[in-house]
């Protein structure tokens, strides 16, 4: 957490003692799942494999003994290579993937903005997708009616809102998804690489809105390969490597350690997109 007056970093250990203020507590979390080799498992391949005496599944240890607490109001940046377990960690916190071992406690409502956002059914209109995404996330119809106008206005995609999402550009989809996620009044907002799409104007607006949420004591988890975003936005940072928690601390230091570890220089290319 950064002291607002001095800009100095306050050690996080102190926060951990105030249990009332803990928003997320991850305790000795293991997530192991079995997956298939193929993207689309089919009967034919199963038969072929059976003939060759191969096992169809392989076990992925996505997270190994990860423990950390997040205080309310924190923006926690998460860095790590592709497949380090960042997205799995977010899905576990959101309750989408159950822990294999360990325990996760989450205080308040989470809203997820994981890599692809809403718009799961592209033959339906933006409006229908917004309503359906909200209902699935546990909001009532009345709550959604109240917020719908705000969502549409913030996304600012005009008449496209009533057209099937198959007609959207990827930027429009991302804007709508972001708008939904931030307007669900989440206590905890989980953002996975969501800011990479959208034009400069929208990025500015999105950043502002996220700041507002943090000021209202929302907690935020942020995955980004743009290390600059992590440094600018987070108050704290964790680094995952092959499912293990390598380091936790001040974003600047963690990013330094991470870039050194993967042997890349902090060039402008790596800072903006890595």
């Amino acid at each position: 957490m950064i002291d607002e007056e001095t800009g100095a970093t306050i050690p996080q250990i102190a926060d951990r003692e105030i249990s009332d203020e803990i928003a997320i507590s991850v305790q000795e979390l293991d997530v192991t799942y079995r997956t298939t080799f193929e993207k689309r498992p089919t009967l034919k391949q199963a038969v072929v494999r059976l003939g060759r005496g191969k096992r169809s599944v392989k076990t992925v240890e996505a997270l190994k003994n990860v423990s950390f607490d997040v205080s309310r109001g924190t923006v926690l940046g998460i860095v790590g290579h592709n497949g380090a377990g960042k997205s799995t960690l977010m899905r576990a916190i959101a309750g989408i993937v159950p822990p294999t071992q360990g325990r996760i406690e989450v205080v308040g409502r989470t809203s997820t903005l994981l890599s692809l956002g809403v718009g799961f059914n592209r033959s339906l209109t933006g409006r229908e997708n917004v309503i359906l995404g909200g209902l699935a996330a546990g909001l009532t119809k009345d709550e959604l009616e109240d917020r719908y106008e705000q969502i549409a206005e913030f996304a600012d995609i005009g008449d496209f809102i009533d057209l099937p999402m198959s007609s959207y550009s990827s930027g429009m989809g991302a804007r709508l998804a972001f708008s939904v996620a931030v307007h669900l009044d989440p206590d905890i907002l989980l953002i996975d690489e969501a800011l990479s799409t959208g034009d400069a104007v929208f990025k500015e607006k999105a950043t502002q809105r996220m700041q507002e949420l943090v000021n209202n004591s929302s907690t935020m988890l942020l995955i980004s390969h743009a290390l600059r975003t992590i440094i600018n936005m987070s108050t704290e940072c964790i680094w995952l490597d092959h499912g293990k928690l390598m380091m936790r601390g001040n974003p600047e230091e963690v990013v330094d350690a991470y870039t050194e570890f993967v042997h890349v220089k902090k060039t402008s290319a790596t800072m903006n997109d890595m």
């Binding site: 009332d20 576990a92 959101a94 989408i96 996760i104 406690e105 059914n121």
Partner: protein, 304 residues
């Protein structure tokens, strides 16, 4: 710390490993119930989207069963000269409509989870809502066909010919047209409810099978066609060959479609064994389908 308010108003969620693959059931079903509007809304939106580009739009919901009935009317009553009688036509129609409902539930239920893509990946909600939404869609599509069925019923009862067959010795006459409105028809409602419950179980089962074997939807049309031929839809149950009847113990549609057709068309009260068999198949399929689905559903997010 900013805005240090209490945590009393914030729900605390604890995620723990699932024991034996099943989540806490009371919590799961409470959650399922509280989000039922999602299933309804999804089904509504998909029904809207299905007909947006067509000229007749939503009227297709009534047009397609009417056309179907028309085709079979042509086949049975015109091409074959109506030798089989109106009761056979009605038996055929009732059976086909009910079978079509089950087939639609299976096909749409199968793809309900796999096409849920981003939503399944990014939102924590009871996924059972997806096949149940498909069930709702299929049932709403089935209702217009009941109206068509009723229309034919009225036609045959009031306007159809009523040939009499009289016994040469006793002189007692029998009406060959057995299509009559009778109180027994109301027994078709519990029969339909059992079919609905059976279909709900099938939807959940097919949805989970499709996640593991994407060929399911390709194989389904052939499997259902064979199932149709093995069930007493295109013929009466008593016309079945003895060797086939032996296997009908394993066919859920034998008693399920049997009680529906007997009560609705023939106006007979089916034997108790048929009712018990139907109930066993319906609830058995529901329980197996739902539990199989729930035990697997948290794995779906990493398999889609």
């Amino acid at each position: 710390m900013k805005n240090p308010t209490g945590t009393q108003d914030r729900p605390v969620q604890v995620f723990l490993p699932h024991r034996a693959g099943l989540p806490r059931l009371n919590k799961y079903f409470a959650n399922l119930w509280s989000r039922r509007h999602f299933a309804a809304e999804l089904s509504r939106a998909e029904m809207r989207a299905a007909h947006t580009n067509t000229f007749f739009g939503q009227f297709w919901l009534v047009i397609s069963p009417a056309l179907n009935a028309g085709v079979y009317f042509l086949l049975v009553n015109v091409i074959r000269g109506g030798s089989a009688g109106p009761d056979f036509f009605m038996h055929l129609l009732a059976g086909l409509f009910a079978f079509n409902f089950i087939q639609t539930v299976m096909t749409n239920g199968a793809t309900s989870v796999t096409k849920g893509g981003n939503l399944v990946l990014n939102t924590a909600f009871p996924l059972l809502l997806l096949p149940f939404s498909a069930l709702r869609t299929a049932f709403l599509r089935f209702i217009p066909s009941l109206v068509i069925l009723l229309a034919f019923f009225i036609y045959f009862d009031y306007f159809g010919s009523h040939p009499q067959e009289c016994h040469p010795v006793t002189g007692i006459c029998k009406d060959l047209n057995t299509i009559h409105f009778s109180p027994t028809m109301f027994l078709a409602i519990p029969a339909l409810m059992l079919i609905f419950i059976f279909a709900a179980g099938l939807a959940a089962l097919m949805a989970s099978v499709q996640v593991y074997f994407r060929d399911t939807t390709q194989l389904l049309p052939y499997a259902t066609r064979i199932w149709l031929y093995l069930s007493p839809v295109l013929y009466y149950a008593d016309q079945m060959k003895p060797w086939m009847l032996k296997f009908e113990v394993f066919n859920p549609l034998y008693p399920l479609l049997g009680i529906f057709s007997e009560t609705l068309v023939e106006g007979r009260i089916p034997p108790l064994t048929w009712w018990l068999g139907s109930a066993a198949w319906a609830f058995g399929t529901l329980i197996i389908g739902v539990f199989f689905f729930i035990s697997r559903e948290r794995e779906f997010a990493v398999r889609i």
